[in-house]
């Protein structure tokens, strides 16, 4: 089963992302900030996709993306940023960090699932 790591400091956002992903048959692993996600990534085999928020305590999402790209088993894993940030500057920063794509909250479940299906196949 395809495993997706969802990273967000908001429990309700993790819940909404989780419901969306599970409705499409994905297995969901959750982390509440970048640091927890990075620790999971270091300890476990790579997931098939990471979806991360940007503004989080302890470690923000763009730092997480940069750190994940340094891990050999995460170099080819798609990393989607899911955030309220919509500025071009932030998107460019995300792209430079190694993100695969940028989704602006509030997300549409249909659109998110279509995007995921496109990038993990």
């Amino acid at each position: 089963m395809t495993r997706i790591l969802a990273v967000d400091d908001s429990p309700s956002m993790r819940q909404m992302v989780g419901v969306t992903l599970k409705s499409a048959g994905y297995e969901v692993v959750e982390a509440c900030d970048g640091r927890e996600a990075l620790n999971l990534a270091k300890e476990q085999p790579a997931v098939d996709l990471v979806i991360t928020d940007v503004n989080m305590p302890n470690m923000d999402g763009l730092t997480l993306v940069r750190e994940l790209r340094l891990l050999p088993h995460y170099r080819g894993v798609p990393l989607l940023v899911l955030t309220t940030e919509a500025s071009t500057e932030k998107k460019l920063e995300g792209k430079a960090a190694g993100a695969t794509g940028w989704v602006v909250k509030p997300f549409s479940p249909d659109r998110l699932l279509a995007t995921i299906a496109r990038i993990i196949t």
Binding site: T84, A86, V104, P106, R111
Partner: protein, 172 residues
């Protein structure tokens, strides 16, 4: 001395407002979590319906009702997805309130501190809030009410674009 006393009164008033915001968010949290759980159950139930139909249904009956059944499940799934989109505005509200709450707590702390006003404490607090705000509309409102020393610059086009960008996906 009178100034210090006024500052302490103001700090206490702001601290009271901070506590009320915190309580408001805390009080509604269980209900929202329950709402999220209900959405989860509905979504799970729809998944079960999809998987059960071909296995358990009377083949002749399902042949007749297949389109109606599938159509109803698809419509319900769309409604569930709609609630997921709308519920995210609650998360946005909580984030917004939390940042304002932190700002007010910082203001209260500075007012209660005898050395407040000796450096750019207010500017630092303001800038910290501005960075944490999650939309251009929120930042422009802050700039309008509490402008930076260099003056506020408004970019309504950027705010409109940001609003229009909600829900968009960009692959790199």
């Amino acid at each position: 001395m009178a100034q210090t006393s006024q500052n302490i009164d103001a700090a206490q008033a702001i601290a009271a407002a901070v506590a009320q915001i915190e309580l408001a968010v805390r009080e509604v949290q269980p209900a929202v979590e329950q709402f999220g759980a209900l959405i989860d159950h509905m979504s799970g139930g729809l998944g079960e319906l999809r998987s059960v139909r071909p296995r358990d249904a009377n083949p002749e009956a399902i042949f007749v009702f297949q389109d109606e059944f599938d159509g109803a499940v698809t419509r319900l799934q769309k409604h569930v997805h709609g609630t997921i989109t709308q519920l995210q505005f609650y998360d946005r509200l909580v984030q917004h309130l939390t940042h304002v709450q932190d700002f007010l707590a910082g203001v209260a702390g500075q007012l209660a501190n005898a050395t407040a006003g000796e450096d750019d404490t207010w500017g630092v607090l303001r800038d910290k809030l501005r960075v944490r705000l999650i939309s251009q509309a929120q930042r422009e409102l802050l700039d309008a009410v509490l402008p930076p020393p260099e003056g506020a610059q408004f970019n309504s086009r950027q705010a409109r674009e940001e609003h229009a960008a909600q829900g968009t996906v960009e692959l790199f």
